[in-house]
């Protein structure tokens, strides 16, 4: 028995991967070299969509967390978890990609670039939500903890970004904005759509897995039968039978 969500999740992921192949082919072999970055600039076609995706899925998790807190339904709880996890996978990728981009560009794997720093903080903040989830075994309490920790972490995103940007701008000039030519725009947009579809597909699969887990854990056993009335007649005398 395959359910609709399984098919939908798998299909969306497959379409996402297929589009990603197209986007990356265009990005790697068709698009011109970036004016400053040269071939290293091709990292953009995977890096930028990943960043958008990570933020978008954290936003989704935030919305789902509010839904979970509001309704107390486990579907929302599973959706929060799914999107936090997908967002966190993307954020970890983002960190690796960012470091590998920084090395040839700025000569170092790590720099206190606001975007890089923000993603490091986000990976930590949301990663712990997943850890927290594993440590609580009471379903209602776990759902609440997941939801509030997600909300609190998401609210931190803009604050972290601006604080690091501020902090940084006082040391060194902000790196100049790259202008993006239209031949570069095309693979970028395709890749963005691809990452979006892929992320949704993976979130649906993850949601399904989580929901099945929650249901199995909480599968309601039948209520016990109503008890027989207790017969006190023999209580003071000798036991019957």
């Amino acid at each position: 028995m395959t359910s609709r969500s399984y098919v939908a999740g798998a299909a969306l992921s497959a379409i996402g991967f297929a589009l990603l192949v197209v986007a990356h082919y265009l990005g790697l072999f068709v698009a011109p070299r970036e004016a400053m970055m040269g071939d290293v600039g091709r990292i953009l076609y995977v890096h930028v969509p990943t960043a958008w995706g990570a933020l978008l899925f954290y936003l989704g998790a935030f919305v789902a967390a509010i839904g979970s807190l509001w309704s107390g339904r486990r579907g929302w709880d599973a959706a929060t978890t799914a999107m936090v996890e997908v967002g966190t996978v993307m954020t970890f990728l983002l960190l690796v990609q960012g470091s590998l981009w920084a090395r040839p560009t700025w000569g170092t794997y790590w720099t206190w670039d606001p975007r890089l720093t923000t993603s490091a903080v986000l990976a930590a903040a949301f990663g712990v939500v997943l850890l927290l989830r594993r440590l609580i075994d009471q379903p209602a309490r776990r759902a609440t903890a997941t939801a509030v920790a997600t909300i609190v972490a998401f609210v931190d995103v803009p604050i972290v970004y601006f604080s690091v940007k501020w902090w940084n701008s006082l040391h060194q000039p902000v790196s100049s904005r790259q202008t993006i030519d239209s031949p570069m725009m095309q693979p970028l947009l395709i890749a963005a759509v691809a990452v979006l579809l892929l992320g949704i597909g993976l979130s649906v699969l993850r949601w399904r897995v989580e929901l099945a887990r929650l249901l199995a854990e909480e599968a309601a056993p039948d209520l016990p039968d109503a008890p027989a009335p207790l017969d006190l007649s023999g209580a003071s005398g000798a036991p019957r039978g």
């Binding site: 056993p221 016990p224 008890p227 017969d231 006190l232 023999g234 209580a235």
Partner: protein
Amino acid sequence: MSSSTPVVQARDLCRRFGRRWAVARVDLDVQPGERLLIIGANGSGKSTLLNMLATLLPITRGSLRLFGRDPVQDRAEVRRRLAIVRHAHGMYEDLSARDNLSVRASLLGRRIDIPRLLEQVRLEDRGDPIRAYSAGMRKRLQLAMLQFEAPDLAMLDEPFSALDPAGCADVEGMIRALPGAVIIVSHQVERAGKLCDRAILMEQGLMRWSGPASQAWEAWRAVQRDDVRTGGGPAGATAAGGAP
């Protein structure tokens, strides 16, 4: 508020922990001023039931009204009128009896004659943190607070545990002096039964028996005999009860 509104109205009250029903199908009414005893073996759901009635544990299904109100919607109002004494005593270990009483009073927003209350429970000369108190002293202090709060519904989970005879007598007197409805969970069936009007017997989360408190001991014996005869369990009990 009319005084005839039942203090507790529970219908089909159920609570599940994971895949286990800790309390199931409990119908219970408690009238104002009534004293109810809950007995049952360990793990039969007595404390879970009490915690649900105290609004500390959400119910899984069924309905519960306290003082005629919904315990979730009117939580503050309901909680203002009930109090619970449990093994976890709800006091601060680093504070003395006097400090705990004054903290409690300020949280309740009420004035309290602390010296008189301390004298009543013979703790007037203890200024040290309650960390060092004996079980009996803690229980007396808890009951002193309960007396001061004078709730419309007082719930006591094992009020006689770890007490010597003198301590038990103290606690009995203090429970008698409580003005509102009282629900006691206790293993000391005979001692607690004397304080109560009515009793219910819990077995494996189900309410197996309900009747006058004077018969609680017989019910307790009967259910144990029943278990021995049928091999225990509600399923067995049903079969046995079907054929008189």
